[in-house]
Amino acid sequence: MSSDGSAPAVSADEMMAVEAARRLHDGTVCFVGIGLPSLAANLARRTHAPGCVLVYESGTIGAKPSELPLSIGDGELADTADAVVSVPEMFAYWLQGRRIDVGFLGAAQIDRYGNLNSTVIGDYAHPEVRLPGGGGAPEIALGVDDVFVLLRQSPRAFVERLDFTTSLGDNVRVVVTDLGVLEPRERELTLVAVHPGVDVDKARAATGWNLAVADDVRETEPPTDLELRALRALRTKGHEHG
């Protein structure tokens, strides 16, 4: 879908990373998890927001990795960071101290209010699927000004009722999915944009509740060549390791 038609088509992950990256600005201090959030934040730093500050919960503040890290504690994050702090300091002084603007979260389930489940599918005491758990999420969700959620949209993930509430949706400002963008309008997540080639009905069908749709749904801008080149250069290392 690049303008000259030579590059491979834009993948759903790439579309999500680009949409999220565009919401980060120079000077934004951003709490980053591994995977898509890390991709998005590093893309922002490589394109329009070189002064975006990446904070990984392992204790690295202002990390500037040359390639995408595969864990939140890769050595390169420490080598390139402005500061490396202990985990108690990270959560007490920096997150609880409200020095972080944006936090990225993912989950297995989300509801219409942006509440997230990353704990269990089924009953807590006898789960069908035991998920990794909340980790930093419960305090990140309430300790930053703006929570960005990155999550593929499906009826299994976008549910009427969570099996377990791991973190609250109070500060969720945007949910970027593989189909489009949702933002809270009077608390309820509302479809405000669809990606190129996606129609509103497809987004509705991929949602387990009756999805609210904005009157003025727009189409997201496809990635520019610059964004795609920066993104694909970052992902080289990840691809080597499958």
């Binding site: 864990s71 504690g73 050595g75 985990v87 959560f91 419960p138 973190s167 609250l168 390791h241």
Partner: protein
Amino acid sequence: MLVPLQDAIAELVHDGDVVALEGFTHLIPHAAGHEIVRQQRRDLTLIRMTPDVIYDQLLGMGCARKLVFSWGGNPGVGSLHRLRDAVEHSWPLALEIEEHSHAGMAAAYAAGAAKLPFGVLRGYRGGDLPARTRVATVTCPFTGEELAAVPALRPDVGIIHAQRADRHGNVQMWGILGVQKETVLAASRSIVTVEEAVDELEPRPGAAVLPAWVVDAVALAPGGAHPSYAHGYYQRDNSFYVAWDAISRERERFLAWMRRHVLGTADIGEYHASLAAEALAV
């Protein structure tokens, strides 16, 4: 001051103990975990913020009856299959869990290191976790603000891996340091494995030093963090974390792997030789 790792585990880790092996992605004490498996400790309460491959191995080998944790997954890969099998199907044993958030665990370790009864934080607000774990509300006597209180972590044994120690047993570590210092200071007894023993510790910017007199045993274990890493010595073995997903998925394959590479080896040197021999055979 240095002792063999086998002796340190034999003397300091007992059946039924509360044991914390820490290391946040970096410096995870795998060699010490393997020695606990070899000596077949039972009924342990295992504490760790991010139980990953080493706890998958300890749980799958039946060493623990309880797990205290805040995030249990294979970082960047997916599930921990042995942890899931224990929680979902009680295999090989029923596993009690006490689940926290990272912020809560970090505050609880810091309280333990300070010998305070509880840690305090602005956290555990809303959601379903507070009803499922040990957390209470305290009121600030100065402002009236309601805050979360988590019971201090006070392990019987704290175990970490570090870069080096000197001949007196002073320990030096650098890079991402997680909650390792708190783990040693919160524990009644502590074991540190190191990459290298040196005559004298050279000062390093950003390094933490644990004086010999807060550590009970220092053991040499070069390569002892693998597949985790030791900053300045070797990198994280990312392909091992990916491979672990398939090795650990089925019980029989997991057990065969553990018999071959852990139970079938005597120490960290033999473990690495065993992995290398398997890689050559492929």
